[in-house]
């Protein structure tokens, strides 16, 4: 099966240690457990320097065409973010837009991100945003608010709400906005939570993501591989949903 990881990263992060955040390290783990492609953003771009981090991503996409697909990080505080996003989406292998409202301290449904959604809709590429239940920036309710504004644009809710108490809210948001897709990574997600989400929203609304190199790709993949799901639903989550968005 050509597993696609819908949510991964390259690089390192400030408030905890990632011993090796290189593309080579990620690819080695992908090879070890049978993941064909990973959709990645660079952590430097998610954090303080979108311009420099996106440039690092472009270089890694060129080195590993076909294995790595890119999310260009849109930095809402950069006055030139729109033009930069358009240029980045012209780069071969750049497959979507990454937003992180909690890092940017900007509400997902606020005007600060409107241009990012508009450009993504115009280019026909998905948007992946961090989604965190209870967050003032990225609560599932904000996905439910923004989704209907761009009905033809696939919007991936990263972490499906992140906390176990937020998974039901994520499912409600998905019910309210048909273009929302729930992505599965997070250290608090379990296989039984995933089974419930499939029951509530359907496998076609769920995409496997690992959050590597934050998290270990194998842990996120194993959650799907060993969950009590039908093989058809498992294949849909591991491959079909994301394939349909790319």
């Amino acid at each position: 099966m050509n597993v696609i990881d819908a949510h991964a990263h390259l690089g390192r992060w400030f408030n905890f240690a990632i011993p090796d955040g290189s593309a080579e390290s990620l690819l080695a783990v992908m090879d070890r457990c049978g993941v064909a492609q990973a959709c990645v953003s660079h952590l430097l771009a998610v954090g303080p320097d979108a311009r420099a981090g996106n440039a690092l991503l472009v270089a890694d996409l060129a080195r590993y065409p076909g294995r790595l697909l890119g999310y260009a990080v849109y930095q809402p505080h950069d006055p030139e973010a729109g033009a930069r996003l358009r240029d980045l989406l012209d780069v071969p292998g750049m497959a979507g837009v990454k937003l992180h409202p909690d890092v940017h301290e900007a509400e997902l449904d606020a005007p600060a991100y409107a241009e990012a959604f508009e450009i993504a809709a115009e280019r026909g590429v998905p948007v992946l945003s961090h989604g965190q239940y209870g967050s003032p920036w990225s609560d599932p309710a904000r996905f439910a608010a923004v989704g209907p504004r761009y009905p033809a644009l696939p919007v991936l809710m990263g972490h499906a709400g992140l906390w176990p108490e937020g998974f039901a809210a994520a499912a409600r948001a998905a019910a309210a906005a048909p273009n929302l897709v729930l992505e599965t990574c997070g250290s608090r997600m379990t296989a039984r939570h995933l089974v419930r989400l499939v029951r509530e929203v359907g496998a076609e609304r769920i995409a496997f993501g690992s959050d590597a190199v934050f998290l270990d790709l194998r842990v996120g993949l194993g959650r799907v591989r060993l969950a009590e799901l039908s093989e058809a639903d498992r294949a849909q989550i591991l491959y079909g949903t994301m394939k349909g968005l790319l």
Binding site: S187, G222, L226, E228
Partner: protein, 264 residues
Amino acid sequence: MRVVDVNRILGPVPHDDVPGRDAAGLRGELDRLRIDEAWVVHSHAVYGDPLTVPPVEEDRLLAVPAVIPGPLGTGELPPVPVVRLYPAAHRFSLGDDGSDHHDDGARLLRLLGERRTVTLVDWEQLDAAGRRRLSRRPGMPPLVLTGTGYRSLRELAGLLARCEHLHVDTSTLCGHRQVEWAAERFGAHRVLFGTGSPLTDDAGPRFQLDHLDLPAADVARIAAGNADRLLREAGGAHAAGERGSRTGGSPTGRSRTGGREAGG
């Protein structure tokens, strides 16, 4: 490969409906994930009445009592090979000074050390003083830090580097290649397979175990060998020769007759 999950809760939990709400359900989960045995603390000890805990009468499960020191604690230390401590949840101190014989927490740790009782403590149950306390030598029991979290690797690495008696479970050692990093840096003998289920996922760590980038001998140590070794080294009334006796029936009891060999 034999697999022992050293970090598991048996019984219902207040915030979710879980398969391991009873022994039959937990057995089904272990079968499904090809886990041979599990060290289990009962949910009543964690979320209910630590003084009145249902027996664990199930092959493949090693009952791990939650021990509380002091006059309102769980009483005399039971003759078991493994205990768990919940200083935050059960509101007790591990003691500020190991030389203070009048400190309940310090006295408990000293007794556990004398018996070489394997002692599991969840990372989030410890404040900074507690972590310093457990890193103090000599006299400490073999300690397994559970639920350390991928974000705590820097602090955890410092503790593991300084303290040979500290071990770590894999339940939330879920950052990118963190299991390999810990095993290569500190030795695979310091890492034990644990899931933290049902609070954290069991399927992911189990899959990861089958796909570790480590020598097969190291993977076997992590999967079960280290757990078995710590049990063997636990002295006194719970020597290895007594394994298999089913005492059950109390927080101090254990039921363990050895597990089946699972394929793969």
